[in-house]
């Protein structure tokens, strides 16, 4: 269920604010007080953590339950996407192979 229009405007405003602060604050302080080294190290791990935390529930959970089953076509397509991405390191190729795998798997499930 999507938020209403007012909340969406709030989302955009909030996103713009937090993004601008993290781009500007340190420039403003002109590097006089750098972040502690440990925080800088930890920041590298945020993007992969966010990505996996968005990917896994959308691929593995169906109606609130874990679906680790070959009949889960999203799981099959996700594995193909990951494999192709690993081999080619190319975003577009990986997405297209994943979509293709999803359609093929759905076709197969219809037959069996």
């Amino acid at each position: 269920m999507l938020l209403d229009m007012n909340s969406l405007v709030l989302v955009v405003a909030g996103m713009a604010a937090v993004t601008f602060v993290s781009r500007y604050l340190i420039l403003f302080l002109a590097g006089r007080f750098g972040l502690p080294r440990s925080v800088m190290d930890a920041l590298r791990f945020v993007p992969p953590a966010v990505l996996i935390a968005v990917i896994l529930p959308s691929v593995l959970l169906r109606d609130g339950g874990l679906e680790l089953d070959w009949r889960n076509e999203y799981l099959a397509a996700a594995l193909v996407t990951a494999l192709i991405s690993w081999r080619t390191q190319r975003l577009f190729v990986a997405i297209l192979s994943g979509m293709l795998a999803l359609w093929l798997w759905r076709g197969l499930l219809l037959i069996t």
């Binding site: 999507l2 909030g14 713009a16 993290s22 340190i26 440990s38 992969p48 968005v54 996700a78 990951a82």
Partner: protein
């Protein structure tokens, strides 16, 4: 800007994907366009589109954006010595248009050993080129996404996870990344029942923490381990 051109080639498809997926997820075109115009942060926007489509609340989306964009602090810290003497209006504009791509191009230019006093113009030029490409490609995507009827029936609901997988895999290098991804992934599943996707925020914090701890153990372990078995791992 010639130095920015190869990066534009990477950004334009990304913008099209964002626009198309946002409208496919039910986000109004105006909101998707406003996000590109005012937030101007590719991965954060894609993740926000995914979260909104799955019913996340305002706080979770904004917090996630905050975490994803924390890395800009790193870029700003590296750029700061080169731009500290510019007037405030320059700092404000360079900050608003700071992205991964512009950072990479600009830092290379600043680091070159010539004394040109106009390097910040190069920086701004690159930034504006990226901004223009991002706006144009977003609207192309919005237009393309809006003209496909019943996107979920085509399996287009998988396009977003597929995009994220393609973004994630190249990031995974080494043991510490694996630990980070395993912890964050397991917690995201375990805590999925929490309201408004709040489990995601916890999963991300725990994953990043676990990853950086492993990284620190890996760095200090082999070097210090032999001479000083009980060495504390906070040597940095």
């Amino acid at each position: 800007m010639r130095a920015t051109l190869p990066l534009m080639a990477g950004v334009i498809p990304f913008g099209i994907i964002f626009g198309a997926l946002a409208v496919a997820g039910g986000i109004p075109a105006g909101i998707a366009g406003a996000m590109s115009a005012f937030v101007f942060a590719g991965s954060a926007q894609l993740i926000a589109a995914g979260l909104l489509a799955s019913g996340a609340g305002v706080v979770v989306v904004v917090m996630t954006t905050f975490f994803v964009n924390l890395r800009h602090n790193l870029y700003a810290a590296t750029l700061a010595p080169y731009v500290r003497n510019l007037p405030q209006r320059w700092l404000l504009s360079l900050a608003f248009w700071l992205t991964d791509e512009t950072y990479l191009v600009a830092i290379r230019r600043y680091a070159q050993h010539d004394d040109s006093p106009h390097k910040h113009w190069f920086h701004l030029g690159s930034a504006l080129t990226m901004y223009g490409s991002w706006q144009t490609s977003t609207w192309l995507g919005i237009w393309a996404g809006g003209s496909i009827p019943n996107p979920a029936g085509w399996g287009l609901d998988f396009a977003l996870p597929a995009t994220f997988i393609g973004m994630l895999i190249p990031l995974i290098h080494g043991r510490s990344m694996l630990v980070c991804v395993t912890v964050a992934g397991a917690l995201s599943l375990a805590l999925n029942a929490l309201p408004n996707q709040f489990g995601l925020v916890i999963a991300v914090c725990a994953g990043a923490l676990a990853g950086s701890l492993t990284h620190r153990l890996d760095q200090t372990g082999p070097k210090r381990g032999r001479t000083e078995p009980s060495a504390p791992c906070s040597s940095t």
